[in-house]
């Protein structure tokens, strides 16, 4: 199907909304929009960061997921206690593939699950004693941990436990940071508030720890990478580019990151933010308190990488600026070969995205480098400022959808008929069963990295092997196929 016109897209939205009761229809209509690049402020065309409607299927997470899963979890040398019942931590354990180096269970703890495993009696009598005992136990079993964070699950806020008091007492006893985080799942409308709460906890318990301590040798080219969670090694394939440019990456937040790296971050010259949604709060704080500027960068696909490298270099002197050009030149032959190989196989293919914090807009450039077109995009938990940044990246008359429901997404897909969908695990099998190629774009479908030039090669290969997989031609039972369809695969294999 060729690209839709503005009117057709609008009509499509109307058609999809038709099944809802009046009130729900009115509410959902605000979250669906036809992109118009001339709009400066997204709030004029799309509403976001609102409570999901009861009764519809949403794929949002909770504040605990935003704090424990996203921001704190990847800090590898700390132990993050999922404080409350066992399920929240157990079912989300190690699914995100944020890689790290270290000996798990000795000096790093990323894929382990620590929980206070609340029972009925803890709900009735309070869990502070248990938490206290648990922390002592952790210290005995894992003495090399650099600190502990207490990630509250729903019951903690409901029964009114005083985790701050426990944290204070234990922090003194162990002489390590023990950070209480009030990220109970019921707070806010999505995981987004969890990011904010986690950022505030970092601000209050981590960022100021090295104030007045000048023992760290600062350099003129110090930067910190913030909001890269090292999914499948993303942060590593980004970091090498920065280092080749002559910058010193002091800290990686929080994929493969450590507590001491985070503590040193206020001393850098520039904060580089990859996931704006989850880490902008702390970057703003560091700008205000320590005067560290920050900028958003995008390392998906050669066009955006070159743009970002130049912008980053703009913050430094000519040496770095020249180095940026050298780095871009060095990889040119490499990425041109990739484009030459895959573009003919992917040219003109249409993609629909529905992901989390930054990818709905950041990966657009990488698809375009491969000659593909993103015809619809949306976020699970974005705010207005994310859509402000998205409108310009998307083509006119494409679909924008916020917190899309399962039903809406399926209907849009049936009508728009994209060649590829990039979304999460909850959508994956539905769309694959509908016969549409699908990539899981949260954790790269067990692949990655996708950042940087090295990542682009993997990205291009993955998209090709998904879209051009022969299995999509086998969607119909042989006896239901027409004669010519039957002949085609035979001819191809002959």
């Amino acid at each position: 199907m060729s690209a839709l016109t503005r009117e057709e897209t609008q009509a499509l939205i109307q058609e999809v909304l038709e099944v809802y009761p009046e009130k729900a229809k009115k509410d959902r209509a605000k979250h669906l929009a036809v992109n118009d690049q001339s709009v400066e402020q997204s709030k004029k065309c799309i509403t976001s960061n609102r409570k999901s409607l009861p009764g519809v299927m949403t794929v949002r997470g909770c504040a605990y997921a935003g704090s424990k899963g996203v921001v704190w979890g990847p800090i590898k040398d700390m132990i993050h206690i999922s404080h409350g019942p066992v399920g929240c931590g157990a079912y989300s354990r190690a699914g995100r593939r944020n890689y790290y180096v270290g000996h798990t269970g000795v000096n790093t703890f990323g894929t382990m699950n620590f929980t206070s495993d609340f029972q009925e009696k803890d709900i009735v009598f309070g869990g502070d004693k248990k938490l206290d005992k648990l922390i002592t136990e952790i210290e005995g079993l894992f003495p090399l941990s650099k600190g502990i964070s207490i990630q509250s699950e729903c019951p903690i806020g409901l029964i009114g436990d005083d985790i701050e008091a426990v944290a204070k007492k234990q922090s003194k006893a162990l002489d390590k940071p023990v950070v209480p985080v009030r990220c109970e799942g019921f707070r806010g409308v999505s995981q987004s508030l969890g990011h904010h709460i986690a950022n505030d906890a970092i601000r209050d318990w981590v960022i100021g720890n090295r104030d007045g301590d000048e023992s760290f040798q600062v350099g003129p080219y110090d930067v910190a990478v913030i909001g890269d969670y090292n999914i499948g090694g993303d942060a590593w394939s980004s970091r090498i580019l920065l280092e080749e440019m002559g910058l010193r990456v002091v800290a990686q937040w929080s994929g493969d990151g450590t507590l001491s790296e985070m503590e040193l971050t206020p001393k850098v010259k520039l904060n580089l933010i990859h996931c704006y949604r989850s880490m902008n709060y702390i970057s703003r704080h560091m700008e205000e308190k320590y005067g560290v500027p920050w900028m958003e960068y995008n390392f998906f696909g050669p066009t955006k990488i070159a743009e970002s490298l130049r912008k980053i270099a703009g913050f430094f002197d000519e040496t770095i600026q020249a180095n940026a050009e050298t780095v871009i030149a060095k990889y040119t032959a490499e990425y041109e070969a990739i484009i030459a190989k895959y573009r003919p196989r992917l040219e003109g293919k249409k993609v629909m995205l529905y992901v989390g914090g930054l990818r709905p807009r950041h990966v657009i450039g990488a698809y375009e480098d491969l000659g593909m077109e993103v015809v619809g995009t949306g976020y699970e938990f974005a705010h207005n400022d994310d859509y402000d940044r998205t409108i310009k990246e998307m083509g006119n008359a494409t679909l924008l959808y916020d917190d899309i429901t399962g039903y809406e997404f399926e209907e849009f897909v049936k009508k728009v008929k994209p060649d590829l969908i990039g979304s999460g695990i909850k959508e994956k099998y539905i769309f694959q069963k509908m016969g549409i190629p699908f990539r899981q774009m949260h954790s790269w479908d067990y692949s990655g990295p996708y950042h940087g030039y090295d990542g682009f090669a993997i990205f291009a290969r993955d998209m090709d092997m998904t879209i051009n997989n022969p299995c999509w031609k086998q969607m119909q039972a042989p006896w239901q196929q027409s004669a010519e369809q039957e002949a085609a695969p035979l001819a191809a294999s002959a």
């Binding site: 402020q41 703003r284 205000e288 400022d385």
Partner: protein, 72 residues
Amino acid sequence: MPNVMIRKNDAGDLLFYVAKKDMEETIASVELDDAEQWGGEVELTDGSRWYIDPISPPPAFPTTLRFKRGDD
């Protein structure tokens, strides 16, 4: 009276950011903005008006300030 963080964007415009509301708007005009003082009535590009008692000497940005809603 929300707490507002004022910072400069790449283009040099002042941004008006309310963390609690996740609102980020560009400042269109500031009543008093000279070497002596900064503040008074502040208008944003979305048309809303805010007020702050003039600060002297002008603050260094980024900084967090308390604003009053101007329209009431």
